[in-house]
Each structure stands twice: as C-alpha cells, then as structure tokens.
C-alpha cells in the first residue's frame, strides 16, 4: 500500500521558513495571506495489504525517524 504522510512543525513552534516565504509572497503582490507554514511530505510504499497495519507501521516510522517529535507533528493523509 502507498501511505502518504505530512510532517509539519508543531502549532506553536516558530517556522522561520514559513515566515519568510510569507513575506516574499506579500512582496510579490499576493494579497490577503494570513500565514504560511511549511512541512515535508513522504510517500511510503509498503508491502502490506492491511490498511490499519500499514498505517501503524508508518506511524512508528514517523515516531522513530521521520518526525522530530520535540518540534514536529505528523499526520497520515492518505492510504491507497
């Protein structure tokens, strides 16, 4: 199965990149942006047919490697 997961900085953690991208978009004339926050996207193709098991596996990967839980959150956004 293919599992998609996004990793973002936790809500209250400063996102310097997002902040500067926001400022640049403003400068380029894109109006009305409230906030920009950036993150990472992973697509993991795992040999596993059971959706629950596959997601559990990816969850473990996120906790152990993909995300830095001190400052980041992860979210599985799709499984096919």
């Amino acid at each position: 199965m293919k599992i998609s997961v996004i990793i973002t900085l936790k809500k209250d953690v400063l996102d310097p990149q997002g902040k500067i991208i926001h400022q640049t978009l403003d400068g380029m004339g894109f109006e009305g942006i409230n906030e920009v926050r950036q993150g990472k996207y992973f697509q993991i193709d795992a040999k596993e047919d059971d959706k629950k098991k596959a997601e559990a596996k990816v969850e473990e990967m996120c906790k152990k490697l993909l995300a830095n839980l001190v400052i980041e959150d992860f979210k599985i956004i799709g499984t096919q």
């Binding site: 310097p16 990149q17 500067i20 991208i21 640049t24 400068g27 380029m28 950036q38």
Partner: protein
C-alpha cells in the same frame, strides 16, 4: 571599471567581495536589493551568503527581489553578471543560468580549499589566465550541480562549463568532487558567456596570509579583460 555588488537580506560575503574588487582596481558600489535601478556598471556581482536564510530553495526568494529585474535586463543586454556561491544559486533560480544546485552529496556543509580546472578561456572571465588550474575556496551546503541529460549535452556543446573540480594537476575525477556535482562542474556560463555562476569564492583567496592567492590571479585578469 565600475562594479556593483548587490546586498540581499542575508548576504554575508558582500563586504568580502567589495574588499576584493576594490583591491584590484574596481570602483565598486553596494546596491540594496530593494532598489530599482542599477548604477552604471561594467560588472554586477551577486555575492555569497544566505539570502533569505536559504529558506524554501537557496536563492529562490532573492531571485524575486526588485533589483533583480534590472539585473536580468542588464544581463540580457550583454552586461557582465557574476554570481558567487549563493549568487550562483540566485542566477540559476532566475533562469539566466542552466541547471540547479542541490544539497551536497554527503549532506554536510563543506568549507575547504579545492582545485578547479579551467575549461573555457575564451571569455572575459578567464581569458589570459596562464594557469590551467586554480586553488580556490568553497563554503557551501548546496553546491551539488545538477541538470538533465539534454541540458548537459547542450551546455557541453555550447562550451558553457567554466570550471571543473579537479586535483592540483587538473585531473578531473570523482575523488576530487567535493559535493557530488554532475561531471564535477563547479561553474557555468550562459550561452553568451557574459553571465557566470561559480560555487568557489575567489574573494577569499586574495592574500597569502589567508587561504591562498589564486583569487588574486582571477581578479587581476578580470579587470584587465574588461578594460
């Protein structure tokens, strides 16, 4: 000879470049990224550093700043534009130069002296340099030059490769490729050879008490070629 060095927020080799250009006889002006017009210049330099913190992609946001419209027009009308390190990354993002600069192969920032082999001397940047290899200095995290197969063929056919990473005798091999660049490319021109991007910093090699002196050869030669 008049030169202009553009300062972006986060540029940090702008002063070093100013010192180097003046040392070899340029009348240099510092230009702020938010300015609209370029002063009259024989050479425009985009210096090294971390414009906009290297956020998103290195050079991506600086390439959208106000002064860059003038720099692009200047380059398109044949003006000499040189980008060093982050400046090279900015030039790539504007599309003035082909390819992209990826994260170094070993994912680590590298700061050290390297040797580069000059591939094309038929241009105002390297014409008349007697040596075939120069010892220069690199300091970057994203210097891994990459482009598609068609592009590599094109830049090869057009003689757009300026420098290769090499050993001190000019031998180009994987052993002396510091960052994983395709074909050891350290520096490229645009088709017309008036725009140059290079990862190594010649401005850090202008004093024997510092890292070395081959940068002096580059600048002395450059001002003579532009006269």
């Amino acid at each position: 000879m008049n030169s202009s060095v553009i300062t972006f927020p986060g540029s940090n080799c702008d002063r070093d470049m100013d010192v180097a250009l003046k040392k070899f006889g340029f009348k240099n002006k510092m230009v702020w990224h938010n300015d609209i017009e370029l002063p009259k210049s024989d050479l425009v330099v985009l210096p090294g550093g971390f414009s906009y913190g290297d956020y998103l992609r290195c050079g991506s946001m600086a390439s959208k700043s106000k002064i860059m419209k003038s720099v692009i027009n200047f380059a398109k009308s044949g003006g000499k534009v040189m980008g060093i390190c982050n400046g090279f990354q900015i030039l790539v993002e504007t599309g003035l130069l082909p390819g992209v600069l990826l994260r170094n192969k070993y994912l680590e920032f590298i700061c050290k002296n390297v040797f580069v082999k000059i591939n094309n001397k038929d241009n105002s940047y390297f014409k008349n340099i007697k040596k075939d290899t120069l010892e220069l200095h690199i300091a970057h995290n994203e210097g891994n030059y990459f482009c598609s197969n068609e592009q590599i063929k094109e830049i090869n056919d057009n003689n757009q490769i300026a420098l290769y990473y090499s050993d001190k005798d000019g031998k180009v091999s994987e052993d002396n490729n510091p960052n994983g660049s395709i074909k050891n490319i350290a520096s490229v021109f645009n088709k017309e050879k008036n725009v140059l991007g290079m990862m190594p910093h010649p401005e850090r090699m202008i004093d024997p008490a510092l890292s070395g002196e081959d940068g002096s050869i580059f600048f002395k030669n450059l001002i003579n070629n532009l006269k």
